[in-house]
């Protein structure tokens, strides 16, 4: 596994255009500049320079080639926005004194709250402590909010004069493209747009390498086919390649990763987390992902699905199909009587099982086609979703006769955002 990357020292790193000249002597006067005139924070890999104002810089306390605080990584997905924020803990007194009000208030706001507005949430349990990034020590915070609140987020950035900080906002995910114009016009911010798959892989490899506060980031389920003996155990992803990376967000992307730089998107499916949640909303009237999962945990999908044993009375031996296997998802719902006898919980459970089995099935076929036997599942569909994780582990193990292993990562949906943050640091 590659060591934690310090910034700008990777010889293999593509030299990216930088805006920083030798601005070490940029003085405090600019620090308090609140107007956002000519704010082109584009220090990132995206050589998008607006205007020519590169002369005045805030001073970095250690005067090294590292980007200005605050350090954010943003991943704007179809349903959720994932934000990682690096909180420096090694701020010296001098630095604290020089820190602009704005920056300080952002830091305090983000680190002293666990919820933002009505929909923003900080996943405190995922916080990575005492991390060293670009020579700075600090904590990495993981925050998420729904994509439909993106305009409000940009609005807030505008009100807090975020652009005056002259920082670079590295963003990935489709929203980096979709909201680029809004960032520019509403927030006077120039986004540094990054490819989501690049970021995803970068994020996964990095977080796995630094570990989860002394614990393993990667884990698997032992004895997935045995409900009694099944348990979650750490997995050492020291030699990760090749691996199949299955990212389950609103939709699903499947990548075959052969090395840090060599990967390809094998395929994708539109039956993802958005499908589970969307169908649950229609079928049960629920309004949050948590609610949908809670319902699913109490339901019985075998009332909704038609199993092999419902058709053959037991196993279908001719094809080696076990009686418990689902023959037709929602197949029982062809009958009016059965439609009237199922609960919302049963429907939620069946939806979850259907989507999960299908992802498992496609992932398994890709793994076979690509000749890869380790499959890493990530994405926010798996958040608080033990049912799906155990089912994926079980399905992969069962249908591959033990040849394939399903692996999971603690920071499920945040790798794209982490990757974006790393790009910011690398670009400096």
């Amino acid at each position: 596994m590659e060591p934690p990357r310090s910034c700008g020292d990777g010889a293999e790193e593509e030299k990216k255009p930088r805006r920083r000249g030798g601005g070490a002597d940029a003085g405090p006067p600019q620090l308090r500049r609140r107007s956002s005139g000519g704010a082109d924070g584009a220090a990132g890999p995206q050589p998008r320079e607006r205007g020519g104002s590169v002369s005045r810089q805030r001073r970095d306390s250690v005067r090294k080639n590292r980007p200005l605080f605050p350090w954010f990584g943003l991943d704007i997905g179809g349903t959720l926005v994932k934000l990682v924020y690096f909180e420096p803990k090694d701020i010296t007194a001098e630095e604290e004194e020089e820190e602009v009000e704005n920056l300080k208030s952002i830091r305090k706001y983000l680190t002293s709250n666990v919820a933002y507005g009505s929909t923003g949430i900080r996943d405190v349990h995922l916080e990575l402590r005492d991390l060293t990034l670009c020579g700075r020590k600090g904590n990495l915070h993981f925050i998420r909010f729904p994509t439909h609140d993106m305009p409000a987020f940009i609005q807030m950035g505008s009100e807090k004069h975020f652009s005056s900080l002259h920082t670079t906002l590295c963003a990935t995910g489709g929203g980096a493209y979709k909201f680029e114009q809004d960032f520019r016009t509403m927030g006077d911010l120039e986004l540094c747009k990054l490819d989501e798959l690049d970021c995803l892989i970068k994020g996964v490899l990095y977080i796995d390498s630094v570990g989860f506060n002394g614990h393993s980031e990667c884990y698997y389920f032992e004895n997935p086919t045995d409900a009694e003996r099944c348990q979650k155990l750490p997995f050492n992803l020291e030699n990760p390649y090749p691996l199949l990376l299955v990212n389950i967000g609103s939709g699903v992307s499947i990548l075959a990763v052969y090395s840090k730089e060599n990967y390809k998107r094998v395929t994708g499916t539109s039956l993802g987390g958005g499908t589970f949640f969307g169908l649950c909303c229609l079928l049960t009237g629920c309004s949050t992902f948590e609610e949908a999962l809670e319902m699913a945990s109490q339901g019985d999908s075998t009332k909704v699905d038609k199993l092999v044993r419902d058709i053959y009375g037991g196993d279908y031996e001719r094809f080696g199909l076990p009686g418990w296997a689902v023959a037709s998802s929602f197949g029982n719902m062809m009958s009016k009587e059965k439609r009237e006898s199922v609960s919302k919980e049963d429907l939620a459970r069946a939806t979850l099982i259907t989507i999960t089995n299908n992802i498992g099935s496609i992932a398994r076929m890709c793994a076979l086609n690509e000749n890869i036997n380790r499959v890493v599942f990530v994405g926010n569909f798996l958040r608080i979703n033990t049912i799906s994780m155990r089912l994926l582990a079980y399905a992969l193990d069962y249908w591959s006769k033990g040849q394939l292993k399903a692996l999971f990562l603690e920071h499920e949906g945040y790798f794209g955002a982490v990757g974006a943050l790393l790009e910011l640091l690398d670009s400096a």
């Binding site: 395929t267 958005g274 909303c281 079928l283 058709i311 037709s328 998802s329 009016k336």
Partner: protein, 635 residues
């Protein structure tokens, strides 16, 4: 995953419809000679199969021994009409609601008492087991669904021309029929019933279930019923065909604002099915949800099928099951999905007789001692219903489903069909010059031509059997039957595969045979052959007197002129009506000057020069005793 569910509302046991009366001449024909019954009962359709023998007249030619006799005033050969018995396979498809009526009908008409068992397959076989045993007094012998399906599939792939087609919604010809390939293996069969079964078929008896998916027709139906409160499968499909999935699905452009250019993913691709319905307070239309569901399921099946095809290195995928069965809507979405996920490398293929595969297979299991696989079987166009579209939106002219009996009849051919060994590539050889499915103008022309000639053919048929008391009556029945076939083909030119002049002639011949007219033209042919043979010597002599090149040209013109009579084009029939003395020389003189419409004469001549010594003897032309053969490839 292997269940073959039914379509439509599904006739329960409790709702059997006994109100219909079955016309004995049209449905369940030849029951008096029937044996070896098989039945395939799906969720709403029953398919019944049996074997019968058909007695019909055939014209046999016997030449006289004229050695040493004066042949001037004697016919050169005699035609005797003989009764011959041939084997026929009958397959009938009807709704489960009529099963009791049908079983009663069969019981009443069944004469053969050797039959002791009936082979049964399909998900509904167990449900009707007692009823069948009680009504028919036959023991129900159950056969594995998938084994029957594969057996049936192999059988139709081997025996029925243009069984296979690709579906192209946005082209002029929606149905693109394929020429039968001599080697049908290996292939992938994706059966979309309530679930999906993916089976790899390697040889006649070797097949393997390689995978499946629980997201299939039952998911569309069950989930669709929950979402839209629409109960019937067909109605759900209709809803879907009217909906806009973009209102429900999250597209790439909803996430990206446009295309995802790095990956070349178009903005219109679905990023997340139902991704826009993640809200409790918005209402979505039934049509939109049904459409989104249809896309979700079709795309998923197509993707898995491609993944399996890739893993097993297969490029032929046949789709079947009630989800597909003749529905243009699902054939379209599946085709789209296969094209997308295989990047055009794999083609989605469909079968004209997909609905019969299980019944055919079960029948074959029961008829193994007759070795049906040793023979070649031909689709009898007179006794078969042909492919109908079941989407009322697309084809308003089609029959209503209820009370419909769909039929397939196949005749055992006298001898097995093999590919002409001289063909360079039998799978690409197309004997017909005009594809009338494709060419609407030509289709109209030829259908009209056959319609206008029909009265004359019927008259001649009656006249060919002057001693028969019911010849007139039979000729009229023939006329009516063939007329109806022509009207069907006007509406659904794809009903029996690619429509060609040859298939129109075959259909006419099958209809004639149906009413016991083996060859209405036999007398005419006899007369003309008599005349031709008398001139034979002089024609040969005149050909031999020509130089080599001239002779080749004269031969070709002779072939063309001879064929002009047989093809019966309207212009020729007009000429024959107005000029009774019109003969071979007149026909030759009426041939167009070169270049002909399709003219490769010069290449042919060159090839002859290259490969043969210029001394080949000329050959005579005789009116053919058999149905019209395909035109030579160079014509």
């Amino acid at each position: 995953m292997a269940e073959r569910g039914g379509r439509g509302s599904g006739g329960g046991h409790g709702s059997l419809d006994k109100s219909i009366t079955l016309p004995p001449d049209e449905i369940f024909r030849n029951l008096e000679n029937a044996k070896r019954f098989a039945i395939d009962i799906g969720g709403s359709l029953t398919k019944l199969a049996y074997y019968s023998t058909v007695q019909h007249k055939v014209a046999r030619v016997r030449s006289f021994d004229h050695s040493g006799k004066d042949i001037e005033n004697e016919p050169l050969y005699e035609i005797s009409v003989q009764e011959e018995i041939t084997a026929r396979l009958h397959f009938i498809k009807f709704e489960n609601t009529y099963i009791e009526t049908c079983l009663d009908f069969i019981k009443d008409h069944l004469v053969n008492t050797e039959t002791k068992v009936i082979k049964a397959t399909g998900g509904g076989a167990y449900k009707f087991k007692d009823l069948i045993e009680k009504k028919l007094g036959l023991k129900v012998d159950k056969e594995d669904v998938m084994t029957c399906l594969i057996k049936g599939c192999n059988f139709v792939l081997r025996n029925i021309p243009h069984e296979v087609f690709a579906y192209q919604k946005d082209s002029d010809t929606e149905f693109r029929f394929q020429t039968n390939h001599p080697n049908i293996f290996p292939y992938l069969l994706v059966n979309i019933g309530s679930g999906v079964s993916i089976v790899k078929v390697e040889t006649e008896d070797k097949f393997e279930w390689i995978g499946g998916s629980s997201i299939g027709g039952g998911t569309f139906w069950g989930l669709g019923a929950l979402l839209t409160k629409t109960k019937k499968f067909d109605e759900l499909l209709q809803l879907a065909s009217k909906g806009q999935h973009t209102n429900v699905d999250m597209l790439v452009k909803d996430v990206y604002g446009g295309a995802y250019q790095t990956l070349g993913l178009s903005g219109n691709l679905i990023a997340s099915s139902f991704g826009k319905s993640t809200t409790a307070d918005k209402e979505f239309s039934k049509e939109d949800m049904a459409k989104s569901l249809l896309h979700m399921i079709s795309n998923d099946i197509g993707q898995l099928a491609c993944l399996y095809a890739k893993l097993h290195n297969l490029d032929k995928i046949y789709f079947g099951g009630f989800f597909i069965r003749g529905h243009p809507v699902t054939m379209r979405t599946i085709t789209y999905s296969i094209n997308f996920f295989s990047k055009g490398e794999v083609q989605a293929l469909f079968l004209r007789h997909e609905g019969y595969l299980g019944a055919i297979g079960a029948f074959l299991k029961g008829a193994e001692q007759d070795n049906p696989n040793q023979y070649s079987w031909g689709e009898n166009y007179a006794g078969s219903s042909g492919l109908m579209s079941t989407s009322p939106d697309v084809y308003p002219m089609q029959r209503t489903r209820s009370g419909t009996f769909d039929m397939l009849e196949m005749d055992r051919l006298e001898r097995p069909l093999v590919n002409l060994p001289l063909l360079k590539d039998p799978s690409t050889y197309i004997p017909d010059t005009v594809d009338l499915t494709d060419d609407a103008m030509a289709r109209k022309y030829w259908l009209t031509c056959f319609e206008e000639a029909l009265d004359g053919v019927a008259k001649r048929a009656a006249a060919s059997q002057p001693d028969s008391v019911d010849a007139q009556e039979r000729a009229e029945k023939f006329r009516q039957k063939y007329w109806n076939k022509l009207q069907t083909l006007r509406q659904q030119p794809f009903a029996y595969g690619t429509l060609t002049v040859r298939s129109l002639l075959d259909t006419r011949e099958h209809c004639l045979n149906e009413f016991n007219f083996p060859d209405p033209y036999s007398k005419v042919k006899q007369k003309e052959n008599g005349i031709a043979l008398k001139r034979f010597q002089s024609v040969i002599e005149s050909l031999d007197s020509l130089g080599w090149e001239e002779r080749q040209f004269a031969l070709v013109k002779g072939l063309l002129a001879g064929n002009v009579f047989d093809w019966g084009a309207k212009a020729v029939s007009d000429v024959l009506e107005s000029e009774p003395q019109f003969g071979f020389e007149e026909a030759k003189s009426k041939l167009q000057e070169r270049p002909w419409l399709e003219d490769s004469y010069s290449q042919w001549l060159q090839r002859l020069k290259d490969v043969t010594a210029p001394s080949s003897p000329s050959c005579p032309f005789l009116a053919e005793g058999n149905p019209v053969q395909p035109a030579p490839g160079w014509l």
